[in-house]
């Protein structure tokens, strides 16, 4: 009889729990691949996470790592305090677009500017999910939300924010990549980027961030399948997928001067 071989199972770092996420939401995919990375790098026991305010506020019910809550947008500041006290731990802040690119812009910007050795996992779904689909800093032009009912209008509402491009300009950042979780191939690519970010953090080369274009079928009022198409056809146009910064690929060992 052939020996049984496990080819797929719940990562050890992921708690055995039903998530509260809607069907078709990208959060649970990202949680899973992050936990796969924790397992593969064997860092579950030394990892400390900071969940955001927003849909992922309850992330501590899913990640089986130590976690410390932060007020809305303050993840990178809280993570800074943790990392500076425990420099040998792996510290990440998990944030949505409102959390990171609106109310917490200053904290994100300056954690990057200081080159804090933390990793930010940035979920960009172009709306405020938890509060019911209001316009986010990343909402696309023309996109209808509950607070841009006629579609986002640049004259009234301004333009969708490209935070990854902005942070890539800062000398303190070491690795920034924009990914998406719309297909097995893109999910694997995202996982690779997440792993690279955590590896860079362990090497203490500077601030790392992975932006993930993530579907929100509920607030986009689309089927899960349609929402995946919308990421690939619409969001990707404004938010190009790819590496925005990788200091090691540029031949630098660290961003310290």
């Amino acid at each position: 009889m052939a020996k049984e071989k496990i080819i797929y199972q719940r990562p050890k770092s992921l708690k055995k729990a039903y998530t509260h996420y809607c069907p078709g939401c990208g959060h649970s995919i990202v949680h899973r691949i992050m936990c796969e990375v924790f397992d593969e790098m064997d860092i579950r026991g030394i990892t400390i996470g900071v969940p955001p305010a927003g849909c992922a506020v309850l992330a501590y019910f899913y990640f089986d790592v130590d976690m410390q809550e932060a007020p809305h947008g303050r993840g990178p500041a809280v993570a800074t305090g943790i990392k500076r006290m425990l420099p040998d731990r792996v510290v990440f802040s998990y944030q949505g677009d409102g959390d990171l690119a609106a109310i917490g812009t200053a904290e994100s910007f300056h954690a990057a500017s200081r080159g804090e050795n933390i990793t930010v996992i940035f979920i960009n779904n172009a709306v405020y999910g938890m509060t019911g689909g209001q316009m986010a800093p990343t909402t696309m032009l023309g996109q209808k939300t509950t607070t841009s009912p006629a579609g986002r209008n640049s004259i009234i509402d301004g333009y969708p924010t490209k935070i990854s491009e902005a942070l890539a300009l800062m000398p303190g950042t070491a690795f920034i990549e924009r990914c998406m979780v719309t297909s097995p191939a893109s999910i694997l690519k995202t996982k690779k980027a997440i792993r690279k970010a955590f590896e860079y953090q362990r090497e203490q080369v500077g601030f790392t961030m992975v932006e993930i274009l993530s579907p929100c079928p509920t607030n986009w009022k689309m089927t899960p399948l349609k929402s995946l198409e919308w990421v690939e056809e619409e969001m990707k146009k404004h938010y190009p997928i790819g590496v925005l910064k990788d200091i090691k690929a540029q031949g630098k060992e660290s961003n310290a001067e």
Partner: protein
């Protein structure tokens, strides 16, 4: 040889924090407390693993110390009124998450940007919670450089003991003034690190949070915090009483105002008028029972003196419960009246029987 040193108040706070083992300080420049931030920049390295960060904002500073506190480190931030307003979100969060930390407020004139002169207008903000939700912060009110040293050390001990943010409330005068001070030996730290977040290792993971969605659970957390605040009220209420049996009145004042009151009391004594001083050194919990005892002991008149327009006055009224007559004199907005002014006010009010209550002269 004595260990007495002459030091500016702000530096005394910094030195006391370092001696207390403050491992993490984050702050943002604001007058009249900049010397604390500068002192910490230079001295946190004296503590093993000590870290100083000049944060991008007061909001970031309070959240940084919250993160550092979660790992079990002793932490502090400092600011003045406008910056303390920004910190309220984080203070509320620390109270909810039961994270210890010391927050220093060197008060200046307000509201708004106000000015950079000594004032006491942040009493309500400090003693009523300041941020959102049902919580309290311990508020310590030093009256001299020696107390800045002692109460800074106490602030760290109290924060650890009750796992709650503690506010050290002084004003620009106390921060800028130089006085002799002796630093006592800090108590060995007693802190239950089982609450800290340091990485799960091989064990069970933990999380610290203030988000408690079910109504019943949140209520239970509120009552848990309430019981802690009750315990603090029972055990940690403090006041300094300088009362004589023949006092015609007692002044209630804290911080710089209490020093002006002392000068006034001396001048009044020369005029044959005996007046006592009741000086709370915890503003929350307010020493209500202690003050009531004083007025029940025969004091006919209580005069509240503040460098604000009547904030502690409300606590005094609640404490005195109508047992004695209460009068008020205040000079807000950065005006620091000389003792002779207060002495004259008191003398007039004690002789003019028609006057019942007056905010002004």
């Amino acid at each position: 040889m004595t260990n007495k040193v002459l030091m500016q108040g702000n530096l005394v706070i910094g030195e006391a924090a370092i001696r207390s083992g403050c491992r993490f300080y984050a702050g943002y420049p604001i007058t009249p407390q900049n010397e604390i931030t500068e002192y910490m920049a230079e001295n946190t390295a004296r503590v093993e693993g000590g870290v100083f960060i000049q944060s991008e904002s007061e909001i970031a500073a309070i959240n940084m110390i919250a993160g550092a506190s979660a790992t079990g480190a002793r932490v502090m931030t400092s600011s003045s009124g406008p910056g303390i307003s920004l910190k309220q979100e984080g203070i509320s969060s620390m109270a909810a998450c039961e994270l210890p930390g010391v927050i220093v407020n060197i008060m200046r004139g307000g509201p708004g940007l106000g000015n950079i002169l000594p004032a006491q207008g942040d009493y309500f903000q400090a003693t009523r919670g300041g941020g959102h939700g049902d919580y309290r912060t311990i508020v310590l009110a030093p009256g001299c450089a020696q107390e800045l040293a002692d109460l800074t050390m106490d602030a760290f001990d109290l924060a650890d003991k009750y796992r709650t943010p503690v506010i050290l409330l002084a004003d620009g005068m106390m921060g800028q003034m130089m006085e002799p001070v002796v630093f006592r030996k800090p108590k060995p730290r007693e802190y239950r690190t089982e609450f800290s977040i340091t990485g799960a290792g091989e064990g069970k993971s933990k999380f610290i949070k203030g988000l408690i969605l079910p109504a019943g659970d949140m209520e239970a957390h509120n009552w848990k915090l309430f019981r802690k605040y009750e315990e603090i009220t029972r055990k940690e209420t403090r006041a300094v009483c300088e009362i004589n049996p023949d006092d015609q009145a007692v002044i209630v004042a804290y911080g710089t105002a209490s020093r002006i009151a002392k000068g006034a009391i001396k001048r009044l004594k020369d005029q044959g008028i005996s007046v006592g001083l009741f000086r709370p050194t915890t503003l929350w919990p307010f020493p209500a029972a202690e003050l009531l005892r004083v007025v029940r002991g025969g004091t006919k008149k209580v005069l509240v003196f503040e460098m604000s327009t009547g904030q502690m006055l409300e606590d005094v009224r609640l404490a005195v419960q109508g047992v004695a007559e209460i009068d008020f004199y205040g000079r807000p907005g950065g005006t620091v009246p000389p003792p002779v002014e207060l002495a004259n006010v008191i003398a007039r009010r004690l002789t003019d029987k028609k006057r019942v209550f007056n905010h002004f002269e």
